[in-house]
């Protein structure tokens, strides 16, 4: 750390090098948690979204029920049920599952993943069902079977339509991750709460953490704008 920054930090009552490190560790935890849950959530959501569009109700029904349950209840409640509920199961402490669920990180990861997967499933499903009929008919005319149609025509065009809605989901997930701090995870919000309670300075502690979230959001918005221009290149007017 450059000397003048260290010097300025030492004059400051709250934002010392130590608290900055606490915020940094919190930021790493937040990014870690949100990134993993989004990646796993997306991987789960794509097949679920396809199943959700299948006509057979025995296939699409369970997926509908899952998305309904997880979109119909607050994430905080889901986290409470997974974190505290699992610990109440008789004898779970003796199984190997406890190695995973003893730490607060994995129950939070599970709750966040299930939640974001439910929303993402519905976003992708919406994009799939709005595929223009003409595209599918043309694919059929070319003799493509269902699998090839999905892979070459429906999913790529659905991805283009889903990306804007999905960027919202990513940002919501980042902000929703703040509730991880209620199950003792020291994420960005957890760090802010600890520092607030140490110095009784709510404005300093929370405004700083708000700026951290805004910086992360800015990076996400920027990345998605790049992705959108890339995916929607064909829609741009041809100009000289």
């Amino acid at each position: 750390m450059p000397d003048f920054i260290a010097e300025w930090l030492n004059q400051n009552e709250i934002f010392t090098a130590m608290t900055i490190m606490e915020y940094w560790d919190g930021m790493v935890t937040t990014v870690h948690l949100v990134f993993l849950s989004l990646v796993i959530g997306l991987l789960v959501a794509v097949p679920l979204a396809i199943l959700r569009t299948v006509r057979n109700p025995f296939v699409s029904g369970p997926v509908w029920l899952y998305t309904y349950l997880f979109r119909g209840t607050p994430l905080l409640i889901q986290l409470y049920i997974i974190y505290y509920g699992l610990a109440q199961i008789e004898g779970i402490q003796e199984t190997f599952w406890w190695e995973i669920f003893r730490e607060p990180f994995y129950p939070a990861l599970l709750a966040f993943t299930l939640n974001t997967a439910a929303y993402t499933t519905e976003i992708i499903r919406g994009a799939i069902v709005s595929t223009p009929n003409g595209e599918i008919e043309a694919a059929k005319a070319y003799g493509m079977n269902w699998f090839m149609r999905m892979r070459r025509i429906v999913l790529p065009s659905a991805a283009r339509r889903a990306v804007q809605a999905y960027s919202n989901e990513v940002i919501f997930m980042l902000h929703a991750s703040a509730i991880a701090s209620v199950v003792t995870i020291v994420d960005l919000t957890g760090a802010a709460r600890n520092i607030y309670s140490r110095f009784y300075a709510p404005f300093d502690a929370f405004i700083f953490v708000a700026l951290c979230y805004m910086a992360l959001t800015f990076i996400l918005v920027f990345a998605f704008r790049k992705l959108e221009t890339h995916l929607l290149k064909h829609q741009r007017p041809v100009s000289g």
């Binding site: 610990a87 607060p104 209620v182 600890n194």
Partner: protein, 250 residues
């Protein structure tokens, strides 16, 4: 003759003086219920450790006391607005509060208590043995500060907003031990099957004092003198033993 008049006026002044002391009216505020410090018994009478201590104090001060019920949020504003003259409602002495009110000497301090499952047999003061253990505290309490300063880096500290959440994690074996305000631990942990006290209680913080308006220095002196007498002549101990099985005297 002159001497006579002087003596008479001296005597008069003395009588007047003592009469004035006897007539001092004090209104003391409590926030109920906060058992066992202040609460209403089944007949609706105000009682508890602090209430009885206040009664003894008033007697010692020869003051005419009236007890007032005031919700916690309005405590300090009510005092400053002269709705009452003393607060004896478990108000911990902190530098922030001391800027607005005048505190007497502390009259009690509940210790922090170590609680854990029956199977926990580690000495909590032995840092080598405690290394790697997970300790639960309530965020921002004196217990949190104590563990952070003395055991940070040795044990894993988990901070909770409410004692209930913390006890749930103790039951779920996510925590090895909790360090919590003794009466709270007594009520939430010890009341459950399979848990015990696992270490000596630790006295923390500056304790609880009587809060008064900054300008009432005269009252403060009398309060301090009365509290000192009660602590010395055994009255304090008698009242304390009625409500507590452990020492909170300060």
């Amino acid at each position: 003759m002159k001497k006579m008049i002087f003596a008479a006026s001296c005597a008069l002044a003395l009588i007047a003086g003592s009469a004035q002391a006897q007539e001092r009216d004090l209104r003391i505020a409590f926030d109920v219920p906060y058992a066992p410090f202040e609460y209403k018994d089944e007949n609706g009478n105000l009682t508890g450790f602090e209430v009885e201590l206040a009664e003894a104090m008033c007697e010692e001060m020869n003051a005419n006391c009236e007890f007032v019920i005031q919700a916690w949020d309005g405590m300090i504003p009510g005092l400053l607005a002269r709705k009452f003259d003393l607060i004896m409602s478990s108000m911990s002495i902190t530098p922030e509060r001391a800027e607005r009110v005048l505190f007497s000497e502390p009259y009690y301090n509940t210790p922090g208590g170590w609680f854990g499952p029956e199977s926990f047999n580690t000495d909590v003061t032995d840092m080598d043995a405690m290394a790697g253990k997970t300790v639960g505290v309530q965020r921002g309490t004196t217990m949190d500060t104590y563990v952070t300063e003395n055991m940070g880096g040795i044990v894993t500290i988990k901070r909770y907003t409410t004692a209930d959440d913390m006890v749930l994690d103790l039951e779920g074996q996510r925590l090895d031990v909790v360090f919590v305000d003794y009466p709270v631990g007594e009520e939430t942990v010890l009341s459950k099957e399979g848990f015990k006290e696992v270490g000596e209680p630790v006295k923390l913080g500056q304790g609880v004092g009587v809060a008064m308006r900054q300008r009432d220095t005269e009252v403060a002196e009398e309060v301090n003198a009365a509290l000192r007498t009660l602590k010395e002549d055994g009255t304090y101990d008698t009242i304390m033993q009625k409500y507590f099985a452990y020492d909170i005297k300060m």
